[in-house]
């Protein structure tokens, strides 16, 4: 029930600042232009980047997962393939691999990646294979 409520909250609040919890896991909804500020704040608080996840359902939903002493926190926003998203690799240098992967598989327009493979991280012949429906549309 709690999960369902939280999930519903997430659906209606993509463009609002909302913090909600799925069990003990914190998910903070942000706007794309707040990404660098929020990431820098977490870095200064001692959080480490765990992963960046993209989900292609009702838009491209990006989740940036962080950890500090087992405390797990996610920054989340929804974007599309046209909007420029700033790379966080200037804050967390090792984010470059996650960002290259998402850029290549989903077509998220991430800019200023420290090491940019220009959609050639994986040797795949198909363009944005994890976002085929969008391409067809």
């Amino acid at each position: 029930m709690i999960i369902g409520t939280c999930f519903f909250v997430s659906l209606i609040s993509y463009r609002k600042k909302v913090v909600y919890y799925i069990m003990e896991q914190q998910i903070k909804m942000i706007l794309p232009n707040e990404l660098l500020t929020e990431t820098l704040r977490l870095k200064n608080e001692g959080y480490r980047l765990v992963a960046i996840t993209c989900t292609n359902k009702n838009g491209l939903e990006l989740s940036y997962s962080f950890d500090k002493e087992y405390n797990f926190l996610n920054l989340r926003f929804v974007t599309d393939t046209k909007t420029e998203i700033d790379s966080i690799s200037n804050i967390y240098s090792y984010a470059f691999l996650y960002e290259n992967e998402i850029k290549e598989l989903f077509g998220v327009h991430i800019v200023n990646i420290v090491i940019d493979f220009n959609n050639n991280l994986y040797k795949i012949p198909v363009k944005t294979p994890f976002n085929m429906k969008k391409e067809e549309e």
Binding site: A51, T53, K57, S65, Y94, I115, L121, F130
Partner: protein, 359 residues
């Protein structure tokens, strides 16, 4: 400044069990920079959630990796169980822990053998893998498989281990421990091994933290972080402390893995001693609806699993962040300043699993 040369390393190289490519920028014999390139074996396994239902996908999750296959299956099942609020039987938790720790032994022994092979110590390589065979024999006897077990399912496990077999495993591990001590003594004391590992590829604690290193790579640099301490499966009922070293070099990473083998033996023995009786699985009805992040401590480090579902039998998204993916930046850091001759052993030092990384 000496002559600068770029040397391509991999994707095919005698020391690499799986393909990864590095462009090594050399100044004379010293590496000054390394640029990685992966993507030779990307299988798109995450995308398969759209074709296989959430029950069938357990088999796909197990095939992400041939070494951590059980842990991938377990991580996936734990994620679905969290979304569906399924409480699995306590005995199943213990059985999962036993197979997970046997997998850790198998993985570390495999790595130790590969490592010995990489610096040319053939007999040590063979002895290490001879011991690993005993672990694979236990897998075969308890699950029917030596690499892919297919015993983990959503709601528990498919197979039980009889009390007689548990006693037998306990005896095998007791005997194995003696041989392990003899062999690992060589890794930690032999002058030729120390020459290739001591002071090589040093990763400071700060660098390991800043570069997101996980598992033995981070622990060898003094970062005390082990997700098993959070008590998933039956770990909350077992006594152990994360193993750390502080030198941050190849020797320290070898030492962490060796100590984790002995720790795994101890954890399995503890689990065998207190495993409760009872069922091994619960019936699962309905489809998952919601999302969840799960993290488990694999032999190579922490892995993250994410599932998003919307009530259908097909999931919206499955995502796994494997330890090797997290350790690649730390590898690049250790390569800086090393000799060209040390590159193979340093690549091995993160225990790379490229199948996992690319999925």
């Amino acid at each position: 400044m000496g002559n600068r040369t770029v040397i391509p390393f991999g994707p095919q190289h005698p020391v690499l069990p799986e393909p990864i490519h590095l462009d090594l920028m050399l100044e004379d014999e010293r590496v000054v920079e390394a640029i990685p390139r992966i993507g030779y074996i990307h299988r798109g396994l995450e995308k398969l959630v759209e074709k296989k239902d959430f029950q069938q996908y357990t088999y796909v999750a197990e095939r992400i990796c041939g070494i951590c296959s059980f842990m991938h299956g377990m991580g996936y099942c734990m994620t679905i169980e969290s979304i569906m609020d399924i409480k699995i039987p306590e005995r199943a938790e213990f059985l999962r822990t036993i197979w997970a720790e046997l997998s850790r032994m198998h993985s570390h022994l495999l790595w130790l053998g590969l490592s010995a092979d990489a610096f040319g110590f053939e007999s040590l390589h063979m002895h290490t893998w001879r011991l690993r065979e005993q672990v694979l024999d236990i897998f075969e006897e308890t699950t029917g498989g030596r690499v892919i077990f297919s015993v983990c399912e959503i709601g528990g496990v498919r197979k039980d281990i009889s009390p007689e077999t548990l006693d037998k495993i306990d005896r095998i591990l007791t005997d194995m421990e003696k041989e392990l001590k003899e062999i690992t003594h060589v890794f930690l004391s032999d002058s030729s091994v120390k020459y290739r590992t001591k002071g090589i590829g040093v990763l400071s604690k700060q660098a390991a933290f800043d570069l997101g290193a996980v598992g033995p790579m981070a622990k060898a640099s003094g970062i005390k972080r082990d997700l098993r301490t959070q008590g998933y499966a039956a770990y909350g009922k077992l006594k152990f402390e994360p193993i750390i070293e502080t030198d941050g070099d190849s020797y320290a990473r070898t030492s962490v893995r060796i100590k984790e083998v002995f720790q795994a033996v101890d954890l399995i023995k503890q689990a065998i001693a207190i495993i409760p009786e009872g069922g091994i699985n619960v019936k699962v009805t309905g489809n998952p609806n919601g999302e969840y992040f799960t993290r488990v401590e694999q032999p190579r480090g922490s892995a993250m699993y994410y599932v998003k579902a919307s009530g259908s039998k097909f999931l919206d998204r499955f995502r796994v962040r494997t330890p090797t993916f997290a350790n690649v930046p730390a590898l690049l850091e250790t390569l800086k300043g090393c000799s060209l001759a040390d590159v193979p052993i340093l690549i091995l030092t993160i225990d790379p699993c490229i199948s996992c990384t690319e999925r």
